[in-house]
Subunit: 190 residues, 2 copies
Amino acid sequence: MKRILLGSGSPRRKELMSMMDIDFEPIKLNDVEEVYPSSLKADDVPAFLSRLKAQSYYDNISDDEVLVTADTVVIIDDEILGKPKTPTEACDMLRRLSGACHKVVTGVSLTSTDGIVTFDETTIVEFDNLSAEDIAYYVEKYRPFDKAGSYGIQEWIGLVAIKKIDGCFYNVMGLPTRALYRKLKEIGAI
Amino acid sequence: MKRILLGSGSPRRKELMSMMDIDFEPIKLNDVEEVYPSSLKADDVPAFLSRLKAQSYYDNISDDEVLVTADTVVIIDDEILGKPKTPTEACDMLRRLSGACHKVVTGVSLTSTDGIVTFDETTIVEFDNLSAEDIAYYVEKYRPFDKAGSYGIQEWIGLVAIKKIDGCFYNVMGLPTRALYRKLKEIGAI
C-alpha cells in the first residue's frame, strides 16, 4: 500500500478516484507546457503528455508514494481536438463530432521511485446528428470550455445525443478506471 | 409539449430524466405481477413488462400526458438474471457474470391517449474476472438487492471490473436515454 497522489485538477478525475474507493490526495503539479513532437501519432499524444506531467514531479517522489497523472484527448480524422477557448470554437468542434465516430484516448502515468509506468486506453464514441439548436443549447447551458472535444459524456449531450460507445465509459470521462485499478494493484499501490 | 409522468420508483431513472433536462413527475403505478409468457424470448421480456406496467395506467391517461414505463434485465446464456434476494444469490449472479459478456436490455413504453409505443435497446457488457474477495466486498458494501444482475455500472464494481461496453451506457443504468429522447420528440412530448 502506498499514498496515492493525483496530479490532476479535473473534478471528474477526483470523482472517479473516489468512486473507485481509492484514498488519494490531489496535488498541484508545476505547470508544464503541453507540447509534443509533431512526428508523434495523435493516438500516442495522451501517453506522452501524461509522462511529461509525471516528469515534472519525478525528483520529488518519496518511497511510499505513487503519483497518477493523465491526459485525455478527442481524436477525429487523426486530428486532436483540445479544449475550446470560445463558444464559437466549441460549436465548431461539436459540428465536427455530429453524426460521426471519434476516438477518446486517455494516457496515464504511474510514478514511483521505481520509475514511470505509462499506458493508454481508447474508447470509440458515436454521436447522433446534432442540430444547430442542440449545439447552441448545450454550449450556452453547460459551457464545456474545460473539456477536450467540447463535451462531457456525463452531461445532457452525452445522454441525448451519443448513440453508442465501444470501450470503457469512464475513459471518456478522463480515467480508464478498470485498467488503472489493475495497474495500481500490480505495482502494490493499493 | 406534454406533461411527462415517470412510472418508475428507480432513483437511477429519476436521475437520468433530470440529467436529460426533462421536467417530469414521478408517479406510483398499481403493483402489477411481473409475469410473462414462457414462450417469450428473453430479449423481448423487458419490452413486454414495460407494456404491462403501462397498461395498468392506460385508462387514467389524460390528453396532455405521456407516461414513461421501463424494465431492465440482465441476460446471460439466454437466461434472465433478476434482482437478487439474498447476499448468496447476489454473489452467485456476480460469479456468473465474471469473465464473460452479457446483455442488458431495457424495454420502454410511452403511453398517451394515442396508444402505447414500445421499444427496447441492448447494450453488451464485458466483465473482467472477479475474485471472491471483489465479489464479497461489493455485495457487502453496496448491497445490490435493487439491481437486476446484482450490479450497478455506476458503482465501484462498474469502474474497476467492467472491461468494456458496446452500446448505450445509460441503458445499463435503466434508460436508453438517447432513444427515449428522440421518441419523446417524435411524439411531440418535449
